[in-house]
């Protein structure tokens, strides 16, 4: 009789073995409170570090948007997109959320290695916690965005409500992104160094401060490729909903749903595949 059979016969289970995917997701869901509370407390701890505390959540992207607005507004001159300030603010705020989820997700396992080594819980709660942290910052930012839009005399329409499903899809996409980056940095820590460059590149190709349609006007193939970029998809959907002079179309919605669904499935599966390896010394 093999040891495995003997163990099975006596009702013993393999320790540290990866659960089947569905079981794993169910367990993670049961413990979702942990991810939520951890995100809440981490945010509180971070905010208590400096005087302005939680105000930085809205101050930082505002400063960013102001700097970009000043520089690119002047640089681009006449080729500025229509409705430049609302256009730019929508782009910068949503981008800073995706960037945060990607970067925070990447360090979510490696920076909590002590927790991983001392307690057993579904590790996917760590990138989940990273994304929840970003959502906590996103909400006041969206509030500020709406105030900015009103200040720049954008008409309030029913379309504004579409921000809710758009942001929801974007959060799902960000979650998939965070789980993938979380596992990748566990295997190759060096990736952490590349993350700022990756985000920079994505920033410049996602039409945050320029109009993709104007720049790629003469290159229809390049424009089609650019339109597939998920970051661009979410941002232009949001612009279509809240900024005057921009519109949404069915292709954008389909692509937004497809990106969110595929990243959710691939991300969870990809992260789960290495579940028993997190915590190994590197």
């Amino acid at each position: 009789m093999s040891v495995a059979d003997y163990a099975k016969q006596n009702g013993l289970k393999k320790v540290g073995a990866r659960e089947p995917l569905l079981e794993y997701v169910r367990h993670a869901w049961q413990r979702r409170d942990f991810a939520y509370v951890m995100a809440l407390y981490t945010n509180q701890a971070q905010n208590s570090k400096n005087r302005l505390g939680r105000w930085w959540i809205v101050l930082l992207p505002t400063l960013q948007a102001a700097v970009y607005g000043l520089i690119f507004g002047v640089l681009l001159g006449g080729s500025r997109p229509e409705n430049f300030i609302p256009y730019l603010f929508t782009g910068v705020f949503l981008f800073s959320f995706l960037q945060g989820a990607f970067a925070n997700g990447a360090t979510s396992v490696t920076s909590n290695i002590g927790l991983v080594r001392s307690l057993s819980f579904p590790r996917i709660l760590l990138p989940t916690n990273a994304v929840i942290q970003q959502v906590f910052s996103l909400l006041p930012q969206v509030g500020l965005l709406l105030v900015t839009l009103i200040a720049f005399r954008q008409p309030i329409t029913v379309n504004w409500l579409l921000l809710i499903p758009i942001l929801f899809l974007m959060v799902i996409f960000a979650f998939g992104l965070a789980t993938i980056s979380a596992r990748l940095t566990v295997h190759v820590q060096d990736l952490n160094k590349l993350i700022p460059f990756i985000t920079r590149i994505v920033f410049y190709v996602s039409g945050i401060f320029f109009s993709m349609d104007k720049v790629l006007h003469n290159y229809p193939v390049a424009l089609q490729i650019a339109n597939l970029n998920p970051v661009y998809v979410y941002i232009s959907l949001a612009r279509g909903a809240v900024v005057e002079g921009y519109s949404m179309n069915a292709t954008m919605w389909i692509s937004a749903i497809a990106w969110a669904a595929s990243f959710l499935v691939i991300g969870v599966w990809f992260f789960w595949k290495a579940e028993e390896r997190y915590g190994r010394e590197i």
Binding site: L12, G16, F34, R280, I282
Partner: protein, 257 residues
């Protein structure tokens, strides 16, 4: 395999030919002048493997208290974290009747938030509901003896205070299989007595206890079986008196302490 003996007893933990290997990036030179030059300041980075546990097999039966002894760095804690499922193993397998709970160096919690919030967080990570934790929070605080400081951020605690809190959180529940790493035997005499009493209580309720210790007295006091690990290999496994005697001979101790 050891699995075939004592068929009348029910196994609780089976460790089958387990290896734990750490891969570490290290400059592959010792701090002495090497033959190939370079020495301490060599830039060469290479992947070094540290074989912490080598082909260890044993079966623990219901009701046994197992002492784990060996010198520092012998692989005791690596083996224990592997049994708790926290440390991935290179090869072999570990089977257990319930999820083993490691009471050790303990949950590294968030230093910037208060002790009370850490109690909630640690409890949630262990899988308890908010209600259960809220009911227990006061008892945990009292057990840790931190009533005055529980609202302060954990970074303001001394090493002993935070170890006390971690122990109290982990020990707030009974566990079927308990692994106690004595590295946590910090804290003052008063807390030590309290935690030892709690450990005995848990040992009586839990079916199986592993105790990692350098104190042969507590090993002889509490264990029914002792496993001696040295340089990752299992040197001896048997009756406490016999193994401790051999271990003392090896280390050159004359008194049991």
């Amino acid at each position: 395999m050891a699995a075939k003996s004592k068929p009348e007893l029910k196994p609780v933990v089976i460790v089958d030919n387990v290896n734990v290997v750490y891969k570490v990036f290290a400059s592959g030179r010792r701090a002495t002048r090497g033959a190939a030059g370079g020495g301490l300041f060599s830039r060469k980075l290479q992947l070094r493997e540290v074989h912490a546990v080598k082909n260890v097999s044993f079966t623990i039966y219901e009701g046994e208290s197992v002492g784990i002894i060996g010198s520092n760095g012998s692989g005791k804690s690596s083996l224990m974290t592997a049994i708790a499922g926290l440390n991935p193993i290179e090869s072999g397998a570990i089977y257990a009747s319930a999820r083993p709970m490691l009471l050790g160096v303990g949950a590294v919690l968030l230093p910037a938030i208060s002790g009370l919030k850490n109690i909630l967080l640690g409890g949630l990570a262990m899988g308890y509901s908010r209600k259960e934790i809220n009911e227990n929070a006061e008892a945990i605080t009292k057990f840790a003896g931190l009533e005055e400081f529980i609202d302060l951020p954990m970074k303001t605690y001394s090493a002993g205070m935070s170890a006390r809190l971690r122990f109290s959180i982990a020990a707030s529940r009974d566990h079927d299989i308990l692994i106690i790493d004595e590295a946590l035997a910090v804290g003052d005499q008063e807390f030590r007595n309290r935690s030892e009493a709690r450990m005995r209580e848990m040992r009586d309720r839990a079916g199986t206890v592993f105790l990692v210790s350098h104190s042969m007295k507590s090993i002889l006091d509490t264990c029914t079986r002792v496993i001696w690990i040295e340089k990752g290999e299992m040197l001896m496994d048997g009756k406490p008196e016999k193994v401790v005697k051999a271990y003392n001979k090896h280390t050159g101790s004359t008194t049991i302490d």
